[in-house]
Symmetry: C2
Subunit: 433 residues, 2 copies
């Protein structure tokens, strides 16, 4: 006999939770489509070589790829993100109309350490566009993020920065280009480990204190002052380019009335190395959960590099965190009880008539379930109650003769007798959505 | 350099197709929920032992399981169906309220031969209930199937049979119980290979001609006559039980006005060995595609066997064929063009104002895209045209000064000038959904 269990880092999402997750995904999809993004579904199985490309995730992530062989002994892997499949689709479809705006929602797999909120099999929701250099793309993502979280009644802000600016500042501080990425990742920890913590990390990375302090002197300026100062004194080309992008993006954000949701944050870096320009993360305004609810950035070099192509593929994309959005909605009591039906019909020796009534009510658009196990009314009522079904109709032989139904409101416990011909009207009155 | 390609038997679903697939899935989900079925999401990764249980798919399917190991050297497999995960969830949640009605839509994997309509990675849509012995469960699936295909404007009928009846008839024909399953699978080919073909197969399986002809004398009776005859002369217990179930199911089907959609078909057997009672398949009435669009059956022994439990787990379930439904809709011209937006905005040096208009129109609920690459109007119009976007708004500097938009209907090619304040009203008039 086998032991019945799930593999480490995998989860069964039972209906109560899955219903809410599915509602979240539908809302996300509807907003994505409002912004001209179209669904794509790519395979989970990939040729291992494709996943192992140096422009894909790199050596770190390759250790976490699940590897397998098909019957033809081809080496395959399970995808670990949706960006490699996106790049692959662009490469496999050279006649594709550009810009190509797609979203994909699907499972990805990473055979790494398991902790709270970090599983080995999980769902990613990615929205990406390839073929747009203009900051309009970023502005659109900001507008989209604001709309997404309005639909969840969550108050958020978007923290953003620019990698060109960051690299330029690192250079202006006299730090070597080959440690720039590593330095930027330390800056990202400012909120977590504080000024001293970051400085210590930079010490350990061999950055001299003068350079570190110089770098801090920039990014600790008030954000608006920093931008104003660097607009006038760009110091180097990278800063000039970064500031230009920031100012262009700001212009669109202001014009569309989005400024109140957007904060320039010079410390923000994001973990991934792929980004080349704007980067952003979405946070709850009330700080009740500090993880970001989503984030993204511009990665102009990845797709062209991956495809070993001379064509330029400017790209911007973002991810929404399904699991963290679920956690927030649950915490706020917005993740409903997910009753399996609006109406539950209990037959007392009237299975046939009850089935007909269930069919009729479903035709009217209601979600209806009925007692099919023949258990006693008391136990059937108990089932409906525990399942949070709001209305129960009980049909006995007497009700049939008198052409009446007993309708029980499970919330207040009230029972009423309703004539056959009045039921439809009554249900319309009490069930509004 | 790696070769850019997808593994054999896997597919990228590009937006044009994926949009339709997604619409199909949403309609399916909405109907499933109307019948009290709730979503479940189970992991793709399974312990290999669980998949290899003798009550799971058996030795045949085990050859086609993708096997892999995690970093802890645990032997895993990719799930090959959604029934094993369903049984597993029932076993892992002993306090679950019964009956448990769930649907799951997800990827499954089979490393087998690849042909048209048969891939190695594909999506299954399963709806199952555990805990109901009554034929009400089957009747509900019939009603649900009728509603599902009404929503797709497809005219269908449900062909059904009963395994208890079939086994009873095989026994009554004097055929050994240990070849009964094999005999039934031959009967299922009647439509494909004809009477002679089936008889030859039965010869090859060592069934003597007298028994074969005896069996045929039953199942070639007119279906209603057969049922009437066996109701009066049940011959053996298995026939008696089967006929009782058929009559009970018929009663519910008649009462709910579903008879016109349902046909008793004594030859129908379905491939899988798991079924113990009712089995059914859904076909197009016009026969333009002969594959079934869905099918299901009762499997009362599987979950209890899988869990090695003495508890009874009567279960009924059905699958809807996403790929074949897509093919039918495409053939009937019902699989739309999936334009990425309803409105496309082309700025002529008016990026900022165009972005603001896009934001405003999205707030009104429209799906809006805009030209972001700075290409010429002619090329941007060409993009909108090829993408089947019905309306284009062109905004030049003059339009800004005159506070007017140029709106182009891409279907009839007509252009009109619309004042700022009239645009919203005009869009409401022309875009109805």
């Amino acid at each position: 006999m086998f032991e019945l269990k799930n593999p480490r880092g995998t989860i069964d999402y039972l209906p109560q939770q899955q219903k809410v997750r599915q509602d979240i995904l539908r809302k996300l999809q509807d907003v994505f489509e409002k912004y001209g993004y179209q669904p794509l579904e790519s395979p989970i199985l990939c040729h291992f070589d494709v996943l192992a490309s140096k422009y894909a995730g790199g050596a770190e992530i390759l250790k976490e790829v699940y590897k397998l062989y098909d019957q033809g002994k081809r080496k395959l892997g399970l995808r670990y993100d949706l960006t490699v499949p996106f790049s692959k689709v662009v490469g496999l479809n050279p006649d594709m109309r550009m810009p190509f705006k797609r979203y994909e929602i699907g499972k990805v797999f990473r055979d790494g350490p398991v902790k709270t909120g970090r599983n080995r099999e999980f769902t990613q929701c990615d929205v990406d566009v390839v073929g747009v250099s203009s900051m309009l793309a970023e502005a659109e993502y900001f507008a989209m993020s604001v709309e997404v979280f309005k639909n969840f009644s969550l108050s958020i802000y978007i923290s953003y920065n620019n990698r060109k600016l960051l690299f330029g500042l690192v250079d202006a501080a006299g730090i070597d280009a080959d440690v720039a990425s590593s330095v930027i990742l330390s800056l990202d920890k400012f909120e977590k480990i504080g000024r001293e913590g970051v400085l210590n990390e930079l010490d350990e990375k061999g950055i001299n204190r003068d350079s570190s302090e110089k770098l801090f002197s920039f990014i600790e300026m008030r954000p608006e002052e920093l931008i104003q100062y660097l607009t006038q004194n760009p110091i180097n080309d990278s800063i000039r380019d970064g500031i230009k992008e920031i100012n262009e993006l700001d212009m669109y954000v202001d014009a569309a009335g989005l400024s109140e949701y957007v904060r320039f944050s010079p410390f923000l870096a994001r973990g991934l190395e792929i980004y080349t320009g704007t980067i952003w993360e979405v946070f709850l305004t009330d700080g009740s959960i500090t993880s970001s609810l989503g984030g993204g950035g511009r990665y102009d070099k990845i797709i062209g590099g991956f495809l070993e192509s001379d064509i330029e593929y400017p790209a911007v994309g973002m991810s929404f965190g399904l699991d963290v959005i679920y956690e927030v909605l649950k915490m706020k009591g917005e993740a409903g009880t997910a009753a399996p039906a609006q109406i539950f019909i209990i037959p007392m020796g009237t299975e046939k008539e009850s089935f007909v009534l269930a069919t009729d009510l479903r035709e009217l658009g209601y979600n209806v379930d009925m007692e099919m196990t023949g258990r006693r009314v008391k136990r059937a009522l108990d089932y409906a109650n525990k399942s949070d079904i709001p209305y129960v109709i009980i049909i006995g032989e007497n009700e049939l003769i008198e052409k009446k139904f007993k309708v029980k409101n499970m919330v207040d416990g009230k029972e009423s007798e309703v004539k056959f011909e009045e039921l439809e009207g009554m249900m319309k009155d009490i069930i509004k959505d």
